[in-house]
């Protein structure tokens, strides 16, 4: 199978978020970047498992500047065969999807896998956009994906308070949720091999952004916690009713 995995770079959740003076960009100083967990733990690992079972190749793709190579190399260390980076600092989800679709169009992948969302912006947009550009089905939030012949896949996807089971033929786009695979930690051999794997840098196609970030602000500070004695739950219920007005 010919598999493409879209990987992105996000600040670790524990990062302290600081912006530049004009509040238009994240101040990258002191930010610890990681590969988006849904991409790394689920999308990539499931792609590797499919390749191991059915043969084929797993290619990584990222739209981003040269700083992203470190994250891409980690994906190669986990086991992807090669990687492509489209050399653009993207301003919008649509531009990321457009670039990936332009590249994928010529390559005819059987399945394009993504994470269900990035943990910094939680957009959950890019998979559907790529699928639309390529006129393919898109299955979001897959927690199971099986195929015995590499042509027809049975997929389980998470929906609000439940589950949907469906079947779809390749080619298609799918986004990965928890459960799709088990995280793999790169070993020394993988890390050494990753150094010699191909990471191709491709120039972006022309695209005009339609939605751009203007400014970041910090949420209003939370007022101090009110402590209630453990033997006075009537008081808590009263406060929830009269003060917080939530019950």
């Amino acid at each position: 199978m010919k598999l493409l995995v879209c990987v992105s770079k996000t600040p670790d959740t524990t990062t302290k978020i600081v912006f530049n003076a004009s509040k238009t960009e994240l101040d990258a100083n002191g930010v610890q970047y990681i590969m988006n967990p849904y991409d790394e733990w689920y999308a990539l690992v499931r792609a590797l498992e499919l390749k191991e079972a059915l043969g084929g190749t797993v290619t990584l793709i990222n739209v981003g500047p040269a700083d992203n190579d470190q994250v891409i190399r980690k994906g190669l260390a986990i086991g992807a065969d090669d990687a492509v980076r489209i050399d653009l600092n993207p301003q919008s989800a649509l531009s990321v999807a457009f670039q990936i679709a332009e590249y994928a169009r010529q390559e005819n992948y059987d399945i394009i896998l993504l994470g269900k969302e990035t943990i910094d912006y939680n957009g959950s947009e890019i998979g559907a956009m790529i699928a639309e550009y390529l006129d393919q089905p898109f299955i979001s939030y897959a927690s199971k994906l099986d195929t015995s012949d590499g042509k027809t896949a049975s997929i389980q996807r998470d929906i609000e308070g439940g589950m949907e089971e469906l079947e779809v033929d390749t080619p298609f786009v799918v986004s990965a949720a928890k459960g799709l695979a088990e995280q793999r930690i790169p070993n020394m051999k993988g890390i050494m091999m990753a150094k010699s794997k191909s990471l191709k840098v491709v120039a972006p196609a022309a695209f005009e952004d339609k939605a751009v970030t203007v400014q970041y602000t910090l949420p209003p500070a939370k007022s101090a916690v009110k402590m209630i004695a453990p033997d006075n739950m009537e008081e808590l219920v009263k406060l929830l009713h009269e003060e917080a007005k939530v019950i």
Binding site: A128, A131, E160, K210
Partner: protein, 320 residues
Amino acid sequence: MVLVFAESQKGNFKKTAFEAVTYGYKTAQVLGTECVALALGSANNAADLGLYGASKVLHVADAALDQFDGQVYAKVIAEVSQQVGAKVIVLSHTSTGKAIHGRLAARLDAGSVAGVNSIPTVDGGFKVKKGVFSGKAIAEYAINSDVKILSVMGNSLQPAIVGSPAAIEAANVAVPASRVKVKSVSRIEGIVPLPEAELVVSAGRGMKGPENWGIVEDLANTLGATTACSRPVADVHWRPHHEHVGQTGIAIRPNLYIAIGISGAIQHFAGVNNSKTIVVINKDPEAPFFKAADYGVVGDLFEVVPQLTEAVKKFKAAQG
């Protein structure tokens, strides 16, 4: 015109749809235009959408739409929006909405923002905000395309009744064949799914084992709340994985989040930080969750939780 895709379940429109219409109505007011709702497939109580501000409901009744496929839905919504000349398309930020949202943006070459939590402003261009970086910041976006696509984060505004039942008008659109075969849909019946829940009772590793969850369920049932859990608890299968909230689980924004025996790690907090009111019950006064709480109780959960349930029962009885 603002076109709102109103999501239904088996033809029934509920809170998610009413929120989206409320958002569309308020956006239409800002833009000085009208808000129209769109219903696809079975639509039992579509007229109710008028209560929340839809001036009318367009309805594509084709039974093929009772099976959800984002590709088919996006084609139909895009075509209707072009027929009526919609400038803003509003969806819900749900599993359904997310499968459509990006497709509409690509199809209509439209700027989009997913998961917005406030009404757009138009001074100096069309701008709208959403929470980013696990709630640590708010980002404001400018959209400069002719058509704009927004999906509304659940529980970010209260549906408000502003109108009367709407007239339903058939929309004429050819429904393309689906390339996805849905085999089964299973939903847990009888409880409000977490992303829609207004009251949530959540518990973590402090519970010691799955056999102790009875006190959590009692509290949740008494309140009419939905239960949730921390990740380690779902990982060891003390609780089903769909209850797991946080960075790698689901993000929720209920009015009330009660955290029992949960330390409040940032990855957990990332999924619940938008809750309106947070109550933390923990025996460790140094637990990080207290810093983010509105109300805190330092105590043994095995004693505190049953007492809280009793207090809620008394309160409910007094309320009649």
